[in-house]
């Protein structure tokens, strides 16, 4: 098996800051439910 197969798709991953942002975004998010609609509100 070739070690550096040029056809092999390189796997990448997002930056740590992106993941941290998402986790904070989620923690700060509150869904305010009204009769007809949901409103995503960020508490941060």
């Amino acid at each position: 098996m070739r070690k550096n197969d040029p056809l092999k798709v390189k796997t990448l991953k997002p930056k740590k800051e992106t993941i941290d942002f998402l986790l904070n975004f989620s923690k700060g998010l509150e869904i305010v439910k009204t009769k007809n609609k949901n409103y995503p509100i960020n508490k941060n």
């Binding site: 390189k10 796997t11 997002p14 992106t18 998402l22 986790l23 998010l29 869904i31 995503p40």
Partner: protein, 196 residues
């Protein structure tokens, strides 16, 4: 958390367990990010799209709008795919992303379901088009239905479809081509026009 299924993690998250979201993101980050990156070939932009994708997912999960119809990762890829299409559309109206490599027609009918909805009327039209397409798909053989759903509704590449279905890329290409030809026949025979 590592041993828990996606479905269980989603339920836990919807009950308020933020660790479950972290596990879900870490489990799928590489596959989703790689999927996005190879479509746009720009790492910073890929991070933006990845972020926007998960922001949509987070809001939808918290609103309880996720229904367990398919695999989580396919749903996430479909959202990412639509965001990428939106990005290219807003960047330049001249860039057209369609399946015209297979067809001589001016547009792909599947472009119609990817238009970003701006108001309720647009949303209703988009929903109607999607319903009509799904109804037409039922007239296709099962194997053609599967590749069309994976290609146009889930946004998978031909390589990914080939891997997912244990087919060669050539078979996948051929199957999508025949499915599109058949859909056009159904539209012609039934005088169906999909437009907005």
């Amino acid at each position: 958390m590592k041993l828990k299924s996606d479905s269980l993690l989603i339920s836990l998250y919807q009950e308020g367990d933020e660790e479950a979201l972290s596990a879900l993101i870490h489990r799928h980050q590489k596959e989703l990010f790689t999927f996005i990156f190879y479509k746009i070939n720009d790492e910073d932009l890929a991070n933006d799209v990845f972020q926007d994708t998960f922001m949509k997912i987070i809001v939808m999960l918290k609103e309880g709008r996720y229904n367990e119809e398919g695999k989580f990762i396919l749903w996430a890829k479909r959202i990412a795919h639509n965001l990428i299409i939106d990005h290219f559309r807003s960047k330049s109206k001249n860039i057209k992303v369609s399946e015209t490599t297979f067809e001589t027609d001016e547009y792909s009918i599947f472009d119609l379901i990817r238009e970003p909805s701006e108001n309720i009327e647009d949303q209703l039209v988009t929903n109607q088009i999607q319903e009509d397409l799904l109804r037409m798909l039922q007239f296709l053989p099962k194997n053609q239905q599967e590749v069309i759903k994976l290609r146009f509704f889930d946004g998978l590449s031909f390589k990914e479809i080939a891997d997912h279905t244990d087919m060669s890329i050539n078979t996948t290409l051929g199957r999508v081509r025949y499915a599109l030809i058949n859909l056009r026949k159904i539209m012609d025979e039934n005088k169906i026009i999909l437009t907005r």
